[in-house]
C-alpha cells in the first residue's frame, strides 16, 4: 500500500469510528485472542457495562459463525480454512459490528428466509423465539452450534439486523460474500 493510500485508509477508519478490524484466517485461538483485545478496547471506550457485553457477545457469535460456516479464504478458495472480516466501531452513541465472509451460494435462500423472519420480529418476539429454540429439541442439520447465532445477535441488537449477499466474481455464481450487521 502506498503511504498516501494508507493515510486515506487511516482517515476513513477514523471517520467511521472503527475500534477494531480483523481481516484474515480464523481459528478459535484467534477468536479468543481478538475477543480479549476487543474487550480491552471497549472497556477503555465505554466502561465494562451492559453495552460492552452486548458488543462482545455479538462479536463472538459473528466470529464463530465465520469459523463454522465460511467457505475458505480470499487467497485460495480450495483451502477450506475459515476466512473473514469483522469490524467493530462506534458512530455517536451507537456501536456497530459488521462481518463478511464467503459462503456457498446454495445457502443464500435458506439464510435469507431465516434472517427475514428474524428481521420481522419485535424485540419481545425475538426473546420468545430465542427461549423456544433454546428449549426445543429440533436440530437444524446445517447448524454446527446451537442454531441460535442469528437470534443471539438479533437479541443483543437495538435495531433490526442487516445483511447482504453479493456474488463472488469469477465463481460462476457458486460462491457469494455474505455480510451481516448489528447495531447496539
Amino acid at each position: 500500500m502506498h503511504i498516501d493510500m494508507f493515510k486515506a485508509f487511516r482517515q476513513f477508519v477514523t471517520e467511521q469510528g472503527v475500534l477494531f478490524y480483523y481481516n484474515g484466517y480464523l481459528s478459535q485461538p484467534i477468536v479468543a485472542a481478538t475477543g480479549e483485545a476487543l474487550r480491552g478496547r471497549l472497556e477503555a471506550d465505554n466502561g465494562s457495562g451492559k453495552v460492552s457485553r452486548k458488543v462482545f457477545s455479538t462479536f463472538v457469535e459473528m466470529m464463530q459463525n465465520i469459523l463454522h460456516y465460511s467457505e475458505g479464504g480470499s487467497v485460495d478458495l480450495n483451502e477450506k480454512v475459515p476466512f473473514g472480516n469483522v469490524a467493530v466501531g462506534r458512530l455517536g452513541e451507537r456501536y456497530y459490528i459488521v462481518s463478511g465472509n464467503i459462503i456457498s451460494s446454495q445457502h443464500i435462500n435458506r439464510l435469507r428466509d431465516k434472517l427475514e423472519t428474524i428481521r420481522a420480529m419485535s424485540s419481545d418476539e425475538i426473546k420468545a423465539e430465542y427461549k423456544r429454540k433454546l428449549r426445543g429439541g429440533e436440530q437444524d442439520d446445517n447448524s454446527k452450534g446451537a442454531g441460535l447465532g442469528f437470534l443471539t445477535v438479533a437479541r443483543e441488537a437495538s435495531e433490526p439486523i442487516e445483511y447482504s449477499f453479493e456474488a463472488l466474481p469469477g465463481s460462476n455464481d457458486a460462491l457469494s460474500f455474505f455480510y451481516l450487521k448489528a447495531s447496539i
Binding site: Q28, V31, A32, A33, G35, E36, S48, G49, K50, R53, K54, F56, S57, V60, E61, Q64, L67, K131, L134, R135, G145, A146, L148, G149, L151, T152
Partner: protein
C-alpha cells in the same frame, strides 16, 4: 467419587466440582469452539455424582461472566440434571452470581429458576 477440576482458559470456564463437599462451582468465560465436546466430561461426571447422591444439600455457585449461544444450550441441560436430583431427596441451592449492571445473565438465571422449580435459586448481584 473424585472431584473434578478444569483450569480456566481465555474461552473456557473454570470448573471446580468438589463432589466430596457437595459444592460445585463454574466461573469465568464460556465460548469454546465446540461447547458439546467441552461440557461432555463435565456433564458425565455430574451425572455419576448425582446418581450416587441421596438426601444431600448441594451448593452450586454459577459465576459465568459470559457464555455464548452453544454453551447456553448445554448449560440448560446441566440445570435440568440438577433439577432432577431432587427426586433422590437432594436439595440443590443455586447461587446465581451476576453483574448488577447487566441483565442478560440475570435473565437466564430467572428463566432457569422458572423452568426448574426444585432448584433453590438465589440471585447474587456483584459489582466489578
Amino acid at each position: 467419587m473424585e472431584d473434578l477440576y478444569i483450569a480456566p482458559e481465555r474461552d473456557k470456564p473454570e470448573i471446580d466440582f468438589k463432589f466430596s463437599q457437595h459444592h460445585l462451582q463454574l466461573r469465568g468465560e464460556s465460548f469454546p469452539e465446540n461447547a458439546v465436546a467441552f461440557y461432555a466430561p463435565v456433564a458425565s461426571a455430574l451425572m455419576n455424582y448425582l446418581g450416587e447422591t441421596r438426601n444431600q444439600q448441594i451448593a452450586v455457585d454459577f459465576e459465568l461472566r459470559y457464555f455464548n449461544s452453544s454453551s447456553t444450550k448445554i448449560l440448560l441441560n446441566v440445570f435440568r440434571m440438577l433439577d432432577q436430583a431432587s427426586s433422590n431427596g437432594n436439595t440443590v441451592h443455586l447461587n446465581w452470581h451476576h453483574d448488577a449492571e447487566d441483565d442478560t445473565v440475570l435473565d437466564f438465571g430467572n428463566d432457569i429458576a422458572g423452568d426448574f422449580i426444585t432448584l433453590k435459586y438465589h440471585a447474587v448481584p456483584s459489582r466489578r
